[in-house]
Structures are given as C-alpha cells and as structure tokens.
C-alpha cells in the first residue's frame, strides 16, 4: 500500500542543502505494522513528514513515495490535503502542544470529519463523541466540551489518537506517541494504538527510539541511523539475531525488564552537515575497522532480515 523507495531529502541549513535522508526504502502492506527505530536526528520523523508532504519549506526531495498506486511526490497540495487526515493520519510526540488550546476536544476531533466528509456540525459532534469514547475518553471521565488544558498528557494523546482515527485512515503514522508520557501511561497508549490498528485493519508506522516499544507492537522493524536504514527485518528475527552494532547499542540503551541499568550510547548522532564519509556509526562503534570509513555500506542479506554493516555481529 505504501511504498517508499530510495527516498532522499535535503533541507536548507545555513545557506546550503544538507541531506537528512539518504536512500531510505520501506514498504507497508495493508494492515501491517512496522516500527521505525533510531535516536533523535536519525531521520525517522523526516521520513514521516515526507510521507505526509509536510516537510519544511525549501526541502529538496528525490526518490519515490507511492501510496495505493498514487505518486505522492507528484501530487499537488490539494491532493495531499485530501489525503491527509482522511487516508493517512498522524499522531505526534507532544500531546501537550499538539492540540489547539482554544478549541474543545470535541470540536478538534470533529474537524477532520467536517473537512473531509462534509458532515454537519451536529453529526460530526456526535461522531466525535463516539471516537472519544473509543479511545477511552467517555463521560464521566471526559466530555467533548472539555478544553485541552483540562486533560492530562495521556488523555490529550488519546484525543490526538481519536482525531487521527476520525476518518478511518488506511495508514496511521505514530511519531514517538508515548515518549512524552509517564511510564505508566505509555503502555496504555501503546496498547490502545496497537489495538485500534488491529481492529480497524489500518497499517501502522510506529516511530520510536525505544526498542522495547517496537518488540511488543510491530510485525517488522527498520533501524535508522543518520538518515539511512541500517538494519531491517521481521521484529522477532531481528531481536533473535541482532546484527548491526547500532541495533545492539540501542537495545542496551533502552530500559529493560531485567532491571539492568540502561547503557547510553557514547557520542552523538553526527550533525547532518558533517556526516562521516563511510559508515556514519563508525566513530561510535567498537567494531569499526579501517574499511568502515571508506563508503557507507549498503543493506545486504538474502532474506527479509538485512543489515548495512561490514562487520555485523551475525551475518543475516
């Protein structure tokens, strides 16, 4: 349904175009759930914004984004507006600021219905009430006439989810939907998203920096680093045979149930304007050798599990 091929995005920074995505390919079938994992600055959110057609002004895009046979990169603004919120919906990281503070949550959930389905105010409001109930915001706990500031972060994220679900999209992009929430609420919201996706048969692109989140939720996963996909495959298989040193480092850095302390990855994601010539992870990698600095490795592997590393932990 969604087919992104060799997507390259460059953004204007300090007077010149800096590549933030280099040849990202990913595909989603109808009803499938895929995780996009990486630290901040790895290009996960840019991938999402490119699919939505909401990249910052001045962005240069190359490659292919096909959605149900339509070429989104060739689509004009009106076509994208008709698609956004109706067939592709998005949930954002910051529920505290993602809602308009001046409008009731009912009005905000009803808005996509009014825009895309030309519903009357009354029937859109009724439908918004149902949607809010579906994400667990039913009276007496919450009513559609509440304002965002009267809700907790978790409740607000439920509102954003209800809003995204309003028109029954085919694809839901959730960009770090639980990062800003309390740990106890994170699991609830994640279960809600995964449950809704499974019930409605919509595809889910879940963006997160937390490998733990991915392991519980998605069928397939892609690990991104510095604008490239470095490892991908079915979730179970990747977890069973983690090949890329970066994937392993991410796992060590995520809070785990065994109670071990997370081990942060030393160093930083390179600034997009100063990415190393070879493998971008090499400067932080314990397994890096001289050949790693020559050219960025490409994804290799016979089956569904592929890795872009010259010295993987296991050959996929």
């Amino acid at each position: 349904m969604l087919d992104v091929g060799s997507l390259t995005v460059a953004l204007p920074m300090g007077g010149r175009l800096v590549p933030v995505l280099s040849g990202v390919s990913l595909a989603l079938a109808r009803g499938e759930s895929v995780g996009l994992v990486g630290e901040s600055g790895s290009g996960k959110s840019m991938t999402a914004l490119a699919i939505m057609g909401l990249l910052p002004p001045g962005a240069r895009v190359a490659g292919r984004i096909m959605f149900d046979g339509a070429d989104l990169l060739a689509a004009d603004e009106a076509q994208m507006c008709a698609l956004r919120g109706r067939r592709i919906a998005m949930v954002f990281q910051e529920p505290m600021t993602a809602l308009n503070p001046l409008q009731t949550i009912g009005a905000q959930v009803a808005e996509p219905l009014r825009v895309h389905e030309r519903m009357s105010r009354r029937s859109a409001a009724a439908r918004a009430g149902e949607l809010l109930a579906r994400v667990g915001l039913a009276p007496p706990r919450a009513t559609p006439d509440l304002y965002p500031h009267q809700l907790s972060g978790g409740q607000r994220q439920r509102v954003v989810i209800a809003m995204a679900l309003a028109c029954g999209p085919d694809l839901l992009i959730a960009d770090e939907p639980t990062t800003a929430l309390d740990v106890t609420v994170q699991a609830q919201v994640l279960d809600l998203i995964a449950g809704l996706a499974a019930d409605s048969g919509m595809a889910l692109l879940l963006i997160t920096h937390d490998l733990g989140v991915v392991s519980q939720t998605v069928d397939r996963m892609l690990v991104m680093y510095a604008g490239r996909v470095v490892e991908q495959g079915p979730t179970a298989e990747v977890f069973a045979h983690m090949a890329h040193p970066y994937t392993r480092a991410l796992l060590a850095a995520s809070p785990n149930e065994a109670g071990g302390l997370p081990a942060p990855i030393s160093g930083q994601v390179p600034d997009p304007a100063h990415r190393p010539l070879g493998c971008a992870f090499a400067p932080r990698c314990a397994r890096a050798e001289r050949d790693c600095t020559r050219a960025p490795p490409s994804l290799v592997g016979g089956g569904a599990h592929r890795v872009a590393c010259l010295h993987p932990h296991v050959a996929p």
Partner: protein, 316 residues
C-alpha cells in the same frame, strides 16, 4: 465569575482612590495660584484672598481633598474656575467629540491592521510581506500631526471633500458631525494601525510555529484554513490587549491632533485646564480618565477570557 467581577470592582475603586490622591497631591505642589491666575497680575492681594476663600482654596489640604472626593461620589464634579460652568457639562460636551473620534480611529486601525498583519505573516519573507511591513514602518515613523496636515492638504484643500477643522456639533445630524471627524480619525488611526499590524504579524508568526498548526495540517486542512481557524485566534490575545491600550490613549492623548483640527476634545480640555491652573477640571479629568483606562482594560480581559478558555478557568 462573580468573584472575578467583584475583584475587578475592588481594583477599580482602589485605583481610582490612588489616582485621586496622586493627582491632588501633585497639583498642590505645582506652583501657581488659581485665584491669582484668574485675576491677572494686576490684582490686589485682598481680592485674590477673597477669591481664594470663595473657591475654598484657603481650607486645609485634607479638607479640600475630602470635599472634592465627596463631591465626586455624589456626582458633584465642581465648577470650572475659568469657564464658570459645571465640570460635568464641560466634560460631557468634550466626550461627545473624543469618544466618537477614538472609536472611529480604533475601528480603522483594527480593520486595516489585522488583515494586513495576518497576510504578511502568512506570506512571510515574500514581496507582499516586505511591502506591507515597509508601509507599516513608514506609518510608525510618521508623526500624526504631520499626517494630519497632509490629509488636510489633500482632502480639505486640494479636494474640498471634508472640513479642514472645527467641529459643528451633533445638532446638525450625525453625518454633519462625523464628516468633521473623518480626517482626524485617519490621522490618528493609520499610525496606530501600523503598530498594530506589526504586532499582529509577529503574533501570527509565533503561532504558525506551534505544534498544533502541524496537527491542523496533518488533519488535512489547507494552509489557509489552518491559518484562519487555528493560528489567528491564538494570535489574537496580544492584539486585543494592544487595541485596548491604543483606545485608552486615543481617548485623551490626542492633544496635538485636536489642535491640528481645532477639535473641542478631552485632550485640549486637559491641556487648557493645566495651563490655566483650573485645578478642579484637571483633578476630575485625571480620575475620570484613570477610570476609563481601567474599564477598557477590564473589557480587554473579558474579551481575552472569551477567546482563551485557559484565562476563563484561571479567573473563575
């Protein structure tokens, strides 16, 4: 809401009390004896003393303060020393000029500034924005008396459409009176509109960067719909606050324009009363203007609370 209104009323009374004390004290310190000024330099000392007694100026200071404040509380504003008419009538006559003028100027300022500011923000960095802000810059820099003179030259002398000055009163019908106020309202309103347009632009640009604007676009709203439905309402609070401030200024801070157009407004009344040591008029006017500023601020707060539910709930 009742508590909110009650608190506001208390603030109003306290401010009026403070204003009355300050203006009374200042006018006591100010050199110049009203009685001596009224009688001229050749007056005999015993005549001056007699007039001082007649005006009640020889009473002890606290008593004079109490007489004045007590009179105002029962609606007795006293009698002007120089005009020998009740201050109430004097003020009422001037308000009939200054209030319509201020209302016209502020309507003009708002009607120009909000569309210009919003469109400049939406087209930020483009030619339309640069042009609009260039004109606004000129508007801010133009002294309003000079603009007034230009307007007289253009629309009263070259094109004899409107009177160059003076005020015929409202007796000859509303159009007759309004005609005399159009040019002064333009001279006052255009520079204020220029300031307001700049503030509106800045406020809209700030809200355009908010997360909820991205949410609105992700819902499928067009750029224009997102601008007017989500960005503009959120940018209005600072704009409304400034409109309130401008209105208070326009009510009595317009001596120069009133002089240019020889209008019998409040500003000139204050100016003349100070020059002629017409203490009672000055005292009354200062307290009345302080009261009007507080009432306008109160109305601004009401509008802000109407726009922004967060302010509503804080004040409730």
């Amino acid at each position: 809401m009742t508590g909110f209104l009650l608190r506001r009323l208390l603030i109003l009374l306290a401010t009026l009390f403070a204003a009355s004390l300050v203006v009374f004290a200042v006018l006591q310190i100010l050199p110049g004896d009203p009685a001596a000024i009224m009688l001229g330099t050749g007056a005999r000392p015993d005549t001056v003393a007699a007039l001082r007694h007649q005006l009640g100026l020889d009473a002890p200071m606290p008593l004079r303060y109490l007489r004045w404040v007590g009179g105002m509380l029962v609606g007795q504003f006293g009698t002007s020393y120089t005009y020998s008419v009740p201050v109430r009538d004097l003020v009422a006559e001037r308000v009939m000029v200054s209030l319509p003028l201020a209302v016209m100027a502020i309507c003009l300022s708002t009607a120009i500034a909000i569309p210009v500011g919003v469109l400049a923000a939406a087209r930020r960095g483009h030619a339309a924005d640069t042009a609009a802000m260039g004109v606004a810059q000129i508007g801010v820099a133009l002294p309003n008396f000079w603009l007034g003179l230009l307007l007289i030259l253009a629309f009263a002398i070259r094109l004899p459409w409107l009177p160059a000055g003076g005020f015929p009163g409202w007796g000859g019908g509303p159009w007759h009176g309004l005609r005399a106020l159009i040019l002064p309202a333009l001279a006052l309103g255009l520079p204020q509109g220029a300031i307001l347009a700049r503030v509106t632009r800045a406020a809209v640009i700030e809200t355009l960067g908010e997360d909820f604007m991205r949410t609105a676009r992700a819902k499928g709203l067009t750029r224009r719909a997102a601008l007017w439905r989500h960005a503009v309402p959120n940018a209005l609070v600072p704009v409304v606050t400034l409109i309130g401030l401008q209105f208070s200024f326009l009510l009595a801070g317009t001596v120069i324009i009133e002089n240019v157009f020889t209008l019998p407004g409040l500003g000139r009344l204050v100016f003349q009363a100070i020059a002629q040591r017409d203490l009672i008029v000055v005292q009354d006017l200062v307290v009345l203007l302080a009261g009007s500023v507080i009432v306008v601020n109160f109305l601004v707060d009401l509008v802000a609370a109407w726009i922004d539910p967060r302010q509503r709930h804080v004040s409730a």
